[in-house]
Structure formats: structure tokens, C-alpha cells
Amino acid sequence: MKVTHMNRINTLFANTRQKVLSVYFTAGFPNIDDTLSVAKHLEKAGADIVEIGMPFSDPVADGPTIQESNKQALDNGMNLELLFKQLEKLRDNVSIPVILMGYINPVIQYGVERFCQSCEAVGVDGLILPDLPMAEYLTEYHSTFEKHGLKNVFLITPQTSEDRIKTVDDNTDGFIYMVSSASTTGAQSSFGDEQKSYFEKVNGMELKNPALVGFGISNRTTFEQATAYSAGAIVGSAFIKLLSKSDDLENDINTFVKELKG
């Protein structure tokens, strides 16, 4: 696929020598108005990408921590209309790449075209929609995403065949989300040999896109293990846990990011 837009994601990977840290949090969590400030604190603390979760009632790919944050965000009143309103000032405050992550149904109800317009208007760079299959993406969504400068991020897992990884790579212009193990999202304390050999295998495939490892990254050790053979890593559940017990977001986020990146 040809590179049509150089957006913030492409620029980041073109210019960075270090391992990239992407941090996921749920919009409207822990409090409804925290979305923008959490993103701002993350950038200030040194995160390279932020992934903002669009909460859904039935997040099947998520473990208990992110399920709970989705539920609380919905109870707080979060929805896409409100999220885009909160993000109107995104680009006055945040300059790193911003990705929206969530399930496809709320996007369909908002309207796919309208959703992409809203993303472009507020300065979103990419999308991760785990339950949007590649086949449907290519036939029905790809051209709309592209028109609005949005990079779609596909997932691969230890069970994904090499052929399919190549197809994913061919249809990606940004980065690939490498799910660390057969699991839903959730923090774990270390990676085993099986995961390390999977990281090595994918690394050895010399894909054109960088890969970020996600699921189970919780601290400096897991971050280093995950990035030994990849361009960077994604942290979600561990960060949500931090947010849910923090009473000083700015300070705690700063410490969290510094400790991860070393």
C-alpha cells in the first residue's frame, strides 16, 4: 500500500531512536473530565503515543481492569459526542500521536463517515478497533479512514500465521499491535520463553512497519523484555490501576512513565 499521508505516527517512528511507549487509558475515567488532562500529563511525562479508549458495554477482548474502567466511564456519562467535545482542544494541549481505541458498535451508531470526520477535526491520528475484521476493514472502511488521514492499527497474536502477519503488514501504514500472549488485556509480571521467541520471530520477519508489544506490560522489566525485539510497547491495565488509586494525577503519571522508560 502506498503511503498517502505522513501523519504524526509515521513521523514519530521515522525520527525516534528510542523505544516507543504508548499508554492506553479510558476516556472519562476516573472522572468524566479527566480525558484531556490525562493525555496532557502523559505527554509531559514522556509518553510517545496516547491511546484513548472509547468505553463500551461489552468489551470482550478486555480483562477485568479495563472492563471496570469502561463501566465506570459509561456510568460517568461518557459517549462519543462528549468525547469529541472534550477533544476539541486536543491539539492546543497535546502534540504527540493520539489514537482512539474501542469496539466497532458505538462507531457504527455514531456513523462511520461522521466518526472519521470528527477524528480528523480534533486531530486524531489512528484507530484501533479490535472487533473490526480485516476483510470488512478493507472493503468498507479503508477508503474512509484514509480520506480522513486515519491510520488503522491491526493486531497480531502468537497464533497469527506468518502469512497473515505479512498481509497485516501489507495493509498497514503506521504500526502493528503485537499482542504478547493468548489473552485478554491485563497486567502480568514477566514474559516466558514462548513469548520471547514469538517476539524474536516477528522481529526476524523484517516487516516494513514497526511493531509495538501490548498486553501484559506493567513495569520496567516487562517493558524491557517486550522492547528487546520490537519498536516499543503499549501499557494499559497497569496504567488504569494507577489512575484508579491516584489522588495526584500529574505527579503519579510522571512517576509511572519515568519508571517505565527508565
Binding site: F56, S57, P59, V60, Q109, D131, P133, Q159, T160
Partner: protein, 393 residues
């Protein structure tokens, strides 16, 4: 067949496989193999034998004379309530467990609402000596306690789904999460014509034994294999899909599906998906779905745990969309009254799910020459507590 699934897994604009990549290899493995396995003579032989000797098929087609007199039509009951374990659900679990064995799987997971599918799954796992885990909403475990104990007696582990609303939808979420975490050795036996392709088609095929038998039995009884009407209740839609299957392309046969209206379609406490739902994506397929304007899934309500689901199978969304099937709904009260009426008129206490189908008799404009087949999907033993609490008998 005009209403069957296309090569991409769609029924018209509904269906597909909207699953996270973590489940892609499992679902792909099924998709690549299910047709050749269930078409093989090996499979057919084992399936037919178990349906005959273990489930007790063919189930009778019974001319309900007193009911016929009352509603002035020729009313036949397809007695799925006489299947081993008490409902049609076992037709599907027999098929899927043979398939799972052929795919080399050692462990089985399932979701259940009323517990009928859970019991049918625990039963076939005991039969085949396979490990079985059933996810069930915590609230459903409380209201369907006898079925929980049946599953445990059969050796299954019943795991409460404590997330969300703690009912069938959440049990399904938990089963999918379990599958994501155990992708290689486990087969997920979905209990209705829902989920990602190929599940809806596969489950419909296993349940199609119902309509195949209806054709043969009706021909023997009346000289024609085709009734004027077939009535069935719809939760996810597996008993309806099975009862409609061989009649879908014959437009002379009126197909009627009855959904659960709960306290009434406009009451805010209902499970009448075609009346209240919009196209959306849940549990791996695009279908009609009860949801808020923001696309969050709405909690349904019905007195019957087996119909308490916010979606319907994509095949039914398509049959509704094309007008091929007429969709009616029945309130809790109408269904309970119909259940008691069937008990008094014919000596059969139906499952409350099935009782919903009988409500259509009052709503259709039947004439004395009409032949009507009602799919009596299950028996009422599991619902005794609900009948007792209802009290009006």
C-alpha cells in the same frame, strides 16, 4: 437456498465474523472445516445414531385436538420437549461435540442463560468424557438453580459471570474471554444461531433436523409435507431456525417467530429485539441489537431466562428484514397464560420460552383448514418455580 449464508458469512447485510484477532485462528479453523466434517459419512453416522439412541429422535409430531378445536385450525406440536435433557438445545450440542472431537479439542466451554444449553453441553461432555466449563450470569444462577445443580451433577464446572448485568449477554462475554485465553485446546459450543460465522450456519444446520422431521411426519399425517404456518419462539433463534430451515424457500409456508415482550414492548422492560433493535455488532456478528443511541448494549428483560438476550441471530435479522418471517411478540402475562392453557388443554407443561410461541395462535387469522405446526422447544420442569410464583392456575 435463498436465505442461506453467503461465502463471506453474511445473510444479506447481517452476519460476518466481528471478532478480535485473538479469536481469528479458532474461528478460521472452524470455518475451514465445519462443512467438510459435517458432510462426511463418519460424522453423519455418529450424529444420526446419537440423535436416535441417545436424544430419542425423531420427536413426535402430535395433533393437539383440543387446542385445534379451540383455535379452529389443525394444530400440530413438534415435541422437542421430549428430547433428552428437555429441550431442542441438545441437537446442537451433540453436533458440536462430535465436531470438536474431530478437530482434536480436549476441552469445552459454553455460555448459558436458562441453563438448558448448559445442561445439554454438560450432558454431551459427560457422554464423551470431555472437560466442561459453563459460564452463567450470577443472577441467572440464582433464578435457575436446579439447572446449575444438574450441570454440577453431570461434572461440569459452572462459573458465575459477575461482570455487567450478570445475565446471558455477560456469560457470553466471559465465554469469549475464556476462549481468547485458551485458544488451542478448547472448543466453544455456542448455544444458539448467534456468534461469528460459521456458528449461526452451523447451529442452524444441526437444528434443521427439526424441520426435516416435520416434513416427513406431516406428509405421513396429512399427505402434504408443507403446513400453512410454523410458529416458534425466538431468543437467539436456534429452535426457530431449525423449525423453519427446510421451509424457508417455500413461500407458501407462513413462518412466524415470537419474541419476548417482557412487560410490553414500550415498557422499557422487554426483549423484543426486532421491535426495539437497530443493526449493530455484538458477540461477533452484525445483527439487530437492542442498544442506546450511543451504541451501548441495552439490558433486555423477559420472565423467560432463555429469551432474555438483547440480539437475535443474523439469519433472523435477515428473515425479518426481507419480510420472509413474520415477527410477533408476547408479554410475560400472555406467555404464562398460554403455558397454563397448554397444560390444561393437552396435558403438557411447556418451557416458558416455548409458551411464547403459543401466544401467536390468538394473534393470527387462522381458518379451519389451516395446518399449523408449533415448535414446542422445551418442557417446563425447569420453570416450575416461575409457574408457582406466577400462581394464577
Amino acid at each position: 437456498m435463498k436465505y442461506s449464508v453467503d461465502e463471506n458469512g453474511y445473510y444479506g447485510k447481517f452476519g460476518g465474523a466481528y471478532i478480535p484477532e485473538m479469536l481469528y485462528p479458532n474461528v478460521e479453523e472452524l470455518k475451514e472445516n465445519y462443512l467438510s466434517i459435517i458432510g462426511s459419512s463418519d460424522f453423519k453416522e455418529e450424529f444420526d445414531k446419537l440423535l436416535r439412541d441417545y436424544v430419542g429422535r425423531p420427536t413426535p409430531l402430535f395433533l393437539a385436538e383440543r387446542l385445534s378445536q379451540k383455535y379452529e385450525a389443525q394444530i400440530y406440536l413438534k415435541r422437542e420437549d421430549l428430547c433428552h435433557t428437555g429441550a431442542h438445545k441438545v441437537n446442537n450440542t451433540i453436533g458440536q461435540i462430535i465436531l470438536a472431537k474431530k478437530l482434536g479439542k480436549q476441552k469445552i466451554i459454553a455460555e448459558t442463560g436458562a441453563g438448558q444449553h448448559g445442561v445439554a453441553t454438560a450432558t454431551v461432555c459427560a457422554l464423551m468424557g470431555m472437560e466442561c466449563i459453563v459460564y452463567m450470569g450470577k443472577i441467572d444462577m440464582e433464578r435457575q438453580r436446579p439447572n446449575v445443580e444438574r450441570m454440577r451433577i453431570l461434572g461440569a464446572r459452572v462459573v458465575p459471570a459477575t461482570s455487567g448485568s450478570q445475565t446471558l449477554k455477560d456469560a457470553t462475554n466471559e465465554a469469549m474471554r475464556h476462549w481468547i485465553n485458551h485458544p488451542t485446546d478448547t472448543h466453544y459450543i455456542i448455544g444458539s444461531v448467534v456468534g461469528p460465522h460459521p456458528y449461526p450456519d452451523m447451529v442452524a444446520k444441526f437444528q434443521s433436523v427439526i424441520s426435516e422431521e416435520i416434513m416427513n411426519q406431516l406428509e405421513a399425517a396429512t399427505g402434504s409435507p408443507y403446513p400453512d404456518y410454523i410458529l416458534a419462539c425466538v431468543g437467539g433463534g436456534s429452535n426457530a431456525a431449525g423449525a423453519f430451515y427446510h421451509f424457508m424457500d417455500n413461500e407458501k409456508v407462513n413462518l412466524v417467530a415470537v419474541e419476548a415482550a417482557g412487560h410490553g414492548v414500550g415498557s422499557g422492560e422487554s426483549a423484543a429485539t426486532t421491535a426495539l433493535g437497530k443493526p449493530g455488532v455484538l458477540h461477533g456478528s452484525k445483527t439487530l441489537l437492542m442498544q442506546t443511541k450511543d451504541g451501548q448494549v441495552v439490558e433486555p428483560y423477559s420472565i423467560s431466562a432463555g429469551l432474555d438476550y438483547p440480539g437475535i441471530g443474523p439469519i433472523h435479522a435477515h428473515l425479518f428484514d426481507t419480510g420472509r418471517v413474520q415477527f410477533l411478540n408476547a408479554t410475560d402475562e400472555e406467555a404464562m397464560n398460554a403455558g397454563i392453557e397448554l397444560s390444561r388443554q393437552e396435558g403438557i407443561i411447556p418451557a416458558i420460552e416455548s409458551a411464547h410461541a403459543f401466544v401467536a395462535l390468538q394473534k393470527l387469522d387462522l381458518t379451519p383448514n389451516d395446518t399449523v405446526v408449533i415448535n414446542l422447544s422445551g418442557r417446563g420442569d425447569k420453570d416450575l418455580e416461575t409457574y408457582i410464583q406466577w400462581g394464577k392456575y
